[in-house]
Structures are given as C-alpha cells and as structure tokens.
Symmetry: C2
Subunit: 310 residues, 2 copies
C-alpha cells in the first residue's frame, strides 16, 4: 500500500491560535503540505500570503483544504467561499457565530461533496476517552464542571471575545461542554445566570444548571476572574466512586487513584482526524456544545457585574 | 372506507391559549374526543380534571394523545412523561425552553414510536402558502419583517413571558419567524440588538439582521410597545413586484393587488395536521424558528431600556 499524497492545506486567520497550535501541528504531520496563508494582519513564513480567503482561493487552485482560525463572527463567509470552491474545511472551535449558519454550512458541504470538520480540540485531550469509558460503566449520581481561568493571562487584548457574539467566558467554557457532551448522557439546561461586566457585551462568568436525560444534575461554573491556580475540571459522583477529570482532560482520577496523566497532543490528533475525514469523504459536525451555549444565552438570566478592563 | 375512531385527547395547561384556541378547535373537530384535562389552576367543564399530567396519565389509560398548552419553561417534563407513557404529543409554540431539550424529545418520541408535533400556528394562516408560491417563483432582492404589537393588550399580566427563558417579544416574534422560515430561503442572523426593560429579564423589542443563504438581507423589527394599529407584516421586494403579507399571514398583496384575504383558521388546521401525523405514525418537529431565537440571544447585543410595568 502506498502512502496517500499529502493534502495541500492553507491556513486562514494567522493569529494566536494558528501560531500556538495549528502551524506547529501541521509542520509535524506528513499528511499535509502547507501551501498558502491568508490573514488581515499575520503572515506565515515560506508560503504565499494573501489578504483574504477570496484572494487565496483565486490565486491557489492547488489548495485542497483550508483551516479557518479566525474569530467565529467572520467564519461563515470564509467557510462558505471555501466550500463553494470545492475545498475541504477545518473549523476551529466554535464552528460559527450561530448554530443556524453552521447547519447551513453542513448542508452545503454535503451538497458539494467536501469534508466539513467542526473541531472540538478538548475532546482529544489524553484522558477523555478513559473518562468516557469509566462513566459508561457507572451510575452517575451528579456531575459538576468547574472551568475557571484568568482571562488576562489566556486572552490578553482579544477584543472580539468581549463583543456581542464573542461568547465571553463561553469561549473557554465551550471546551468543557465539548468534553461533557462526549462523556455524559444527553443533557439540557434548566437554569442559567450570566454575569456581564457593565462595560462589555459578553459574559465574564456563568452558572448553568443542566439535567441529563436520566435526570442527573450537572452543575456548571464558568469564571474568567480566577487568578492563581486555574481549574479545568469535570467531576462526577458515581456508584463506582468519585471521578475527577482535571487539567482540561489530561488527568483522570477515580477515588484518588490516578488512571491517566499525560501531556496533551490535541491539535496533532485533530489534524489526524481531519485527514481521515478527507480521505473517507465524510464530515464531522456535532453542534451539541454550541447548541448548549445558544440555549444558555436564551434561557439565562442576565446579571450586571463590575466593569472589566484588560 | 370507514371513518377512523376519534383520538382520545387531553389538554394540559388550561390557560388563555387553551380557552381561546385549543378547546374551540377540538370541540368542532370530529377527529378528536376530549377526555380529560390537567392544570394547576384552570378547569375544563364536562371532563375529569387533574392537578398534574402525572395524575392524569395514571388515572386515564384511555388517553391516546395530549396537547400541551403551558408555558415553555415547564413543557419538557410534561412532554417527556407523556411520551414515556406512550402518548402522542402536540406542543404549543414554542416547543420548549431550549433547542437541546426539544431535540431530546424528538429522539425519545422516535424511540417510543409516538407522534411528536411541534406546532407553529402562524404557518397555517390562510395566505402563507400563496406567499410561499409567489416567492418561490421570484427573485428576492430584500425582505423585512415588522411584528409590532401592544403587549398590554395581548399578554396582560402574563408574568412568565418576562422571566428569563420567557422569550419576551420573541414570543410573538417566533410566529413571524415560523412563517419566514417557511416562505423564505434558509437564513441566518448576522447581527441583533435586544432591548431589555431595566426591571425585566426578557426583551421588549429586538432588531435582528438576517441574510439568506443567497445573501439576501432580511431586516427584522420586533416591538411590544406599539399602541394603535398593530403590525404583523412580512414584506419582500422582488423582481416580480413588491409583496406584502399582512395581518399575521391572512392577507397577501403583490404590487397593491390583493391575491388573498381570508379569516384565519389556524388552530383547526393544526389539529387536522396532528390527526394526520398520528394516523401516519410520523412526527413533525422543525426547530428552525426556535433556533433563530436562541441564535439571536447568543449573538445579540443587550441594550437596557426604560422599565416596563403592566
């Protein structure tokens, strides 16, 4: 069996996440050849750079796939242009600004016969599958999600996250939800409170109560004001003991016994998954995490809190 | 061919909408026999009344279908109980408090082999199908939705509509969206502003910009502060003239020429549709209108306006 040709890929949106994660993952992956980039501001060394995806698509017929790493508010038009040009599309999370527009992209990709991958990087954290197996074997009595980090440390001067539609604390929170919807039974929101700084259009904290389809309560606490140690934990009380999935999915403990503790390699795994989807000519667009965020905004009580300054 | 037996139906939630619409529609429809009712407050003459759906289901095995007319915040548990008891379920609009929970009910109904009908009464207004045909035959340049009514006149003292998750002006607005998503191409929100009275947890007005999948702009103006003449209109500028669908879907004009003008009979038509779904053992759960509302809350900028008192 001969190895398939590398996929000619382009990066669109050369910001922090592209530099921190996408470009290093692509550089190490023999399934891909990076052939172009487009961005309003950033540039990638060693490949042609364009000002817009439209310019890139027009000038680079050899591109087979694009990876979109810009803010969600502008992702739809780029994805639509790429799909209409017959390119496979990798979407950074969250996959769009609205659920409806991603549903539309999903239908469009099916129509054009290209792959659409709505990526949820946290699902590929090393201990997530072990947590899933453990929970599938147990009766869950209650669960809790604590995702608390310091926005100044992880999102310095990212103005778009504070704008309407920028998701606010749900930008990291959706990572927790992408794990929870993968390892817990189907769940839905019964109550939510969203804390909006009085000078911002997106929440800095949120408390969300879910119930699973089996009636199990899941208490969610998202907070962007946590200094000191950071919390990215999912906890579950079960008939087989107390489970702690911590470190954003890197470490699994049950009743204090460590079952898994590994360094994360999320983005390399995402790109491996995308290559498989492209080769299989299928898509993977699970919207449950984004749906919960939209539901939280619809159902949530708005609470105004003190102003936030970067 | 013999006429099918009437469907034994129960009404759950005996409030304003049940009295104004559901009970009169059922009384005239030979496809149904009303056999019970459940409500915390209201009662229906001539049938056994129960305090809860659980009591009704336990005491009335002859019930084949239930129609849920309570506020959306408490609809899920009632629908779930009914589906698990093997009953067909008719949901008043909106079908639930979150999109996720209705997706769950949809899956549950399929699993249990019962009919679930997420009803959108405005889609059954007499001129809607004619508007749909007209728009399908034309090129749409732009569209506008003006849904402006006096909340004091139509929703007196309905506290739940002002609570978080009560939808506010999207409660009538979702009627407009249920027509728009039926007669216009797929569309998605690009921008929204929601006006919250400073003493309420739901918006009193909303301005929402959509674009259709073909890029056509659709401007939506919802307002609950309109005294005097009320507006329930969908307008479209097309290459075949200017279309006005007014009166909540009862009257269609193109270039000033009246093509349809009839009295509405929405609820009788909804119940005819539900009977057909039950007989065919199928479901009808189109969530697009509710999805747009969730998206509007997620994407929308919140604007605080003067307090509202009933």
């Amino acid at each position: 069996m001969t190895k398939a040709q590398p996929i000619n890929i382009a990066i669109v949106g050369v910001g922090k996440i592209a530099r921190d994660q996408h470009l290093p993952a692509l550089a190490k992956d023999g399934d891909y050849k990076l052939v172009a980039a487009a961005s309003r501001h950033g540039k990638v060394d060693g490949v042609p750079n364009f000002e817009s995806i439209e310019a890139l698509l027009a000038a680079s017929p050899e591109v087979e796939a694009v990876s979109l790493c810009m803010p969600p508010q502008v992702r739809h038009d780029a994805a639509r242009a790429a799909i209409l040009a017959g390119k496979h599309v990798f979407l950074e999370k969250p996959p769009g600004a609205t659920v409806s527009e991603v549903e539309h992209l999903k239908a469009l990709a099916a129509e054009k016969g290209v792959t659409l991958f709505a990526s949820w990087h946290s699902r590929y954290a090393p201990a997530v599958e072990a947590a899933r197996s453990f929970l599938a074997s147990a009766r869950i009595k209650s669960a809790a999600i604590n995702w608390k980090e310091d926005v100044r440390r992880w999102h310095p001067n990212q103005e778009w996250i504070w704008q309407a539609g920028g998701f606010g604390v749900f930008d990291p929170g959706i990572n927790a939800l992408s794990i929870a919807t993968h390892i817990l039974p189907p769940m839905f929101i019964t109550e939510a409170t969203l804390d909006f700084p009085e000078n911002r259009d997106a929440p800095i904290a949120a408390q969300v109560s879910f119930r699973t389809s089996e009636g199990t309560p899941v208490a969610v606490d998202f907070d962007w004001r946590q200094t000191g140690p950071q919390s990215w934990d999912i906890l579950a009380e079960t008939d087989k003991g107390f489970m702690v999935l911590s470190g954003g999915g890197t470490r699994l403990e049950v009743e204090g016994k460590v079952l898994k503790d590994e360094k994360e390699t999320e983005y390399p795994m995402l790109y491996r998954r995308f290559a498989k989807l492209v080769h299989d000519r299928t898509s993977d667009v699970d919207l449950a995490p984004l749906q919960h965020v939209a539901d939280a905004f619809m159902l949530g009580k708005r609470n105004v809190v003190e102003p936030f300054f970067d």
